[in-house]
Symmetry: C2
C-alpha cells in the first residue's frame, strides 16, 4: 500500500521510519506546508511535496497519515483530507473528540473513505486496554500513569519563561501510588499523589534562577498541582543527557469478581515516543487500507478495529503464531 | 441477551458469576451431561437442564458458552452446537486450532451463527497483546511468562502418582529471566530458565516420600525440564493455604525501531483463574450476539473482533470514557 505523510516533525519522521520497516508499505511522498526544498527526508525513493499537491494525488496515495498538532492542525486537516483519502491521525484533545469524530465521519462517508482518529498509545493502545478491562470486569477502576518520560508541552511551557534558554521536563509516576494500585488497593489519588515533575533548565547568563524556579513551580495547570523539582544545568549537559524523547507509562485496572481481586496492567517503556507512536499509526494505515478495500467507510478509533487488521499476516498465520 | 452455559465445573461457575454481574445478560440455564438433579447452581432464576435439551432451545438461548475440556469435549461440542447457537469456547490445544477453527467455521456459517473459539487470557488477551505488539513493531520478540499460579494439569499429574493423596502445583516465573526481558535484553531462554515448578504434596501414611519426589522431578514433559521443588504438607495445610486457583502472568514484547528499544508488557494477577476466564467468555458472548445481530456468521477468535464489541456501552460512551 502506498503511504503519504503530511507534516514532517518528530511524529512524521517516526511514521517514515515505521513505514520503511513494513515490507507491505511504501512511502510515496512527504507533504509539507513549508517550502519542500528546505525539507530533507530519510527515504531516497520518496518525494517531498507541498501540501497543495494533495489536491490531485488520489491515484498515488492509498493512505495519508496526518502528523499535525491537535490544537489547531488536526481539527481542520483530518476532515479536509478524509474527503479525498483514507486518513490516520493522533488527535488527543479529549474534550473535542465527539466533534472531531463526527466531522471526520461525515467527510469520510461522503468520500467513501476510512478515517482513523486518535491513534497512538494514549489515546490508542492505552485506550484499548482501558476498554478491554472494563468490558471483562465491569466492577473495577482504571488508573493511568505516565512516565518516566519527556512531556514536550511542559518543556515548551518552561522555555517560554523569561531567562530560560532551553528545558526538558520529565513526568514521573509516584512509586508509592503505583505500588498501591498494583496491589489492587484501589486508592483515591490526587493529581499530586500520582505524578511528580522533574525540570532540567538552561538559564541565560545572569538570569534570576530563584525567580525562574518559582515561576515554574507556581505555573497553573502545568506545575502548580504537582511536586516539582527544578535543576539548572548547562546547555552541554542538556544536549548530552536529555536530548531523547523517551516516554511510557502504565494502564492498571483493578477489578473484582465478588470477593476475588484481579489486576490487569499494560505498560510501555519507550526509548522514543514519536517513533513508537509513528509505528502505531503505520499499523493503523494498514488497517484503514484493508477496511476500505472491504467497502467500509467513515470514522473509526482503535476501539472499532479488530486487532487482526493491524497485522500484515493472514488469519491462518496469526492463529498459528500468536494465539 | 439470554445466555446458556454448557458444563458446570470451575469455568462454568466463573461464567455464571460473570453473566450475573452483567446487567445486559441473563442466565437462562446451565446444561449438564450429568443428572440435572445433582447439580446445584448459584442463580435461582436459571434452570439446570440435561444437555440433550439443547436440541430444542434455540428460541430461548442467544449465546451458548461451552465450558468443556480442550482434549476431547470441545473438538466435538463446539462445532455441534455452533450448528444451532452462537457459541463461545476456550479451546487451548494449540496444534489443533486450525482444524477446530475450520470445523466451527463450517458449522456456524451453515447455521447463520457466530462461533468464537479460544477465548480467555491465554489463549485470549495474551494472544491479542502478542498480535498488537508484533503488528506495531515488526522488529521484535515476544516472551510469555505464566504464574505465579496453579496449573491444574500439573496438579492432576502429581495426584496420579502412587501414594499421593492430594497436590497443588504452582508455576513460577524465574525473576532473573523476567528482569532481563523487561530490560529489553532479548535473552535466549531455555524452558528451565523461564519457569520453576513448586509442588505441595499430601502423601498417604507410610508412603515413600523420596520415591514420590523422585517420580515428580523426573516426569517427562511435566517436570523433567524444570527446576522443581517438592514440599510435603498435611491435607489440612493444603486445604487451608492452597485451595484457591490464582494465576496470571505476563506477555512481554521487546521491540525496536532502528537503534531505539521499546518494551511492551501486558500482565495479569488473578485471584481466580476460572472467574477471570469466565469474565472474558461473558464479554465475548456479548460480542458474538452483536456480531450475529449484524448478520455476521462463521468462526472468530479475539483477533477478529473489534474491542468495542465486548463492551455494553455505545460508541459515543466508550469514546467519552476510555479514549
Amino acid at each position: 500500500m502506498k503511504i503519504g505523510i503530511l507534516g514532517y516533525g518528530n511524529l512524521g519522521r517516526g511514521v517514515e521510519k515505521a513505514v520503511n520497516a513494513n515490507p507491505d508499505q511504501e512511502l510515496v511522498a512527504v507533504f509539507t506546508r513549508r517550502d519542500p526544498e528546505g525539507v530533507k527526508i530519510n527515504t531516497p525513493s520518496a518525494k517531498v511535496l507541498n501540501a497543495s499537491e494533495l489536491e490531485k494525488m488520489q491515484d498515488e496515495i492509498d493512505v495519508l497519515v496526518i502528523c499535525g498538532g491537535s490544537a489547531t492542525d488536526l481539527p481542520e486537516m483530518t476532515p479536509k483530507y478524509a474527503a479525498k483519502y483514507n486518513v490516520i491521525d493522533s488527535f488527543d484533545t479529549h474534550a473535542r473528540i465527539p466533534e472531531h469524530f463526527a466531522n471526520v465521519d461525515a467527510a469520510a462517508k461522503a468520500a467513501g473513505k476510512i478515517g482513523v482518529i486518535s491513534g497512538g498509545w494514549d489515546p490508542g493502545m492505552f485506550s484499548v486496554n482501558r476498554l478491554y478491562s472494563h468490558s471483562i470486569l465491569p466492577d473495577g477502576k482504571d488508573y493511568t500513569f505516565w512516565g518516566r518520560g519527556v512531556s514536550q508541552g511542559h518543556s515548551d511551557a518552561i522555555r517560554r519563561i523569561e531567562g530560560v534558554l532551553d528545558a526538558r521536563q520529565y513526568t514521573v509516576p509516584v512509586p508509592a501510588a503505583l505500588e498501591s494500585v498494583r496491589k489492587g488497593e484501589n486508592p483515591e489519588l490526587t493529581t499530586r499523589q500520582k505524578h511528580t515533575r522533574e525540570c532540567f533548565v538552561v538559564a541565560a547568563e545572569g538570569a534570576d534562577k530563584a525567580k525562574i524556579e518559582q515561576e515554574i513551580k507556581t505555573m497553573p495547570n502545568y506545575f502548580a498541582d504537582y511536586d516539582t523539582t527544578v535543576t539548572f544545568i548547562s546547555q552541554e549537559e542538556l544536549d548530552k543527557n536529555h536530548k531523547g524523547l523517551p516516554h511510557g507509562g502504565s494502564v492498571i485496572y483493578s477489578g473484582r469478581t465478588g470477593d476475588k481481586k484481579h489486576v490487569i496492567e499494560y505498560s510501555l517503556k519507550l526509548d522514543s515516543n514519536p517513533e513508537f507512536t509513528g509505528s502505531v499509526l503505520a499499523a493503523l494505515a494498514r488497517a484503514a487500507y484493508r477496511l476500505n478495500k472491504e467497502g467500509q467507510t467513515g470514522a473509526r478509533t482503535m476501539f472499532d478495529i479488530a486487532p487482526a487488521y493491524l497485522s500484515p499476516l493472514s488469519g491462518d498465520e496469526i492463529r498459528a503464531h500468536f494465539l
